[in-house]
Amino acid sequence: MTLLTTLLKELRHHAVQAALAVLGLAVAVALLTAVRMTSAAAERETRRVMRDLGFNLRIVARETEPDRFWRLGYSEFTLPESSVQRLAAQHGVFLTFNHLTPTLERPFPAAGGEALLTGLGPSVIGPGEKKQPMGFVIPSGQLFLGATVAQRLGADRGGTVTLSNRVFTVARVLTESGTPDDIRIFAALSDAQALLGLPGRISEIQAVDCLCLTSEQDVLAHLRTALAEALPEARVIQVRHLADARARQRQMAERYAAFSVPLAVGAAALWIGALMMLNVRERRAEIGLWRALGRSSWAIAALFLGRAALLGVFGALAGAVIGTGMAMAWGPKLFPVTAGALAPDPQLILWTLLGTPLVAAAAALTPALLAVAQDPAETLRTD
């Protein structure tokens, strides 16, 4: 009779105790699986929400006067468009900045009033990253119009608008936002440069900071040091409330994961440890008998460590199914924006199946050692 057969027979004999152990492990694994899956979904959702909040860094020419910059909303000075590539080529820049988006912004006459013409170039992201672009991606010959300017031009989606004798298709009319976006005309960077007579020039590089530090952590000093090395002719302005919101959200998600995972693992380990202790107490006579039959300490420890590991396998299987099911059932309601990205995580399931038996066996170590150390004479003596 193999160890596995013996363990299975023992589990069947102590069915209630085994079921309680599997239940405890399954609940912990299910929570862990659901929390990990929904945490990943929450991170995706947060990233999307944060992306929609927009860029939080503006890199402008060093000569830019802050008072005029804030009054006008853009820098009157320009940088060469190649600054983006120079910045991107700097070693380690993507540890600090990401989504580097060359931007040219200037006032532009539109239907008897004044709009802001904003040209957006393609974003540059870190090498090997698969991030979605943060800003608008506008093909040449197309425009995205702010609500106010669209109304003034009498333009609708799919219609055409003529700017400086050039005809553009209105690809999108933005919802009224209550921000300067309402008077913006978004165009491809090359089109804006042509319309403004500034070929190869940009007024700023919009970016997102990757440090995810809050304002108390002096993020600006880090950013300025990084930029001074990469692009000394530029300066960085941080839109602090956006950066703080992003950093706090990410830190909160990390703290939550750091708290929930050890909690679930610890609770499961305590539960299985307590049940294994009970099992050892119940089987004192049996342990004495195995000793009398000449079983080694290792063989006796294997009865309990193997039992815990086997319970871990059953608990992990049940928990992975339940947890994945829970996340798939409730995740889309919790995270409607990124619901489509929710899917069973084979890597998480694999780690769960490998890790749970190990955690269970580790939790059973003390009971197993107690079983090994038990004096057989105490349980076998009837005199």
Partner: protein, 223 residues
């Protein structure tokens, strides 16, 4: 074959030190059936467990074929016990989740081959348990449980069987059957050491040890 010399064993209890065994010496050779008698608390089971390598004496030596049992490291003592000794207990101590056949096979050291299975089946047949081999211990009567425990002790063909009140929970018929089988084992060249406070074993005994408060009160070779 089995020799113990000046065995002493004391236990510390709330009431002070209790001397369970005091200077016990005796020897048994192949073909001997040693019955240890005495009232409750006289140290009979303590002596049996000490002979079985399960309870280290405070003083004295237990030798089997010249080997000092307690001079062996624990792992070697386990192997020795697995290969040489068979135990039968008053409370049977069957593994509750194993079938009768598996309980008998549990007495074997190492892996179980076809020959071992056949021997186990033959023993169950001989002890009238063939029809019960797939049953769990909870489905057996006291007599059947003890015969299962006896088969477990016999299956590995040990040199010595140590039996602690083996008939303490049995009716006279079952008690007689158990002692008859132990006697057959002795006649085949084995050594039996049986603890009992009754006289059921007397017809089979070659030696009788009488213990009184941990001391050897009497050592009687039976004619």
């Amino acid at each position: 074959m089995l020799r113990c010399e000046q065995i002493c064993r004391r236990f510390q209890g709330p009431g002070g030190t209790l001397t369970a065994l005091d200077q016990i010496s005796f020897a048994a050779d192949r073909g001997d059936f040693v019955v240890i008698q005495g009232p409750s608390g006289s140290g009979k089971t303590t002596l049996l467990l000490t002979l079985g390598g399960l309870l280290r004496p405070d003083h004295g030596v237990v030798r089997v074929d010249g080997q000092d049992l307690y001079a062996l490291p624990q792992a070697a003592r386990c192997r020795f016990r697995a290969q040489t000794l068979g135990f039968v207990f008053q409370l049977f101590h069957l593994v509750p989740y194993l079938s009768v056949l598996d309980n008998v096979l549990a007495g074997l050291p190492g892996s179980v081959d076809g020959a071992a299975r056949r021997r186990a089946a033959d023993l169950l047949e001989e002890l009238g348990l063939a029809a019960r081999s797939a049953h769990r211990p909870s489905a057996l009567s006291a007599g059947e449980r003890q015969r299962t425990a006896l088969a477990r002790a016999l299956v590995k063909k040990p040199a010595i069987i140590l039996a602690d009140e083996p008939t303490g929970n049995l009716d006279p018929d079952n008690a007689s059957a158990v002692f008859r089988r132990l006697d057959a084992f002795r006649r085949e060249g084995g050594v039996v050491v049986a603890v009992t406070h009754g006289h059921d074993a007397d017809p089979h005994a070659t030696h009788t040890l009488r213990l009184q408060q941990g001391r050897l009160a009497e050592l009687l070779p039976v004619p």
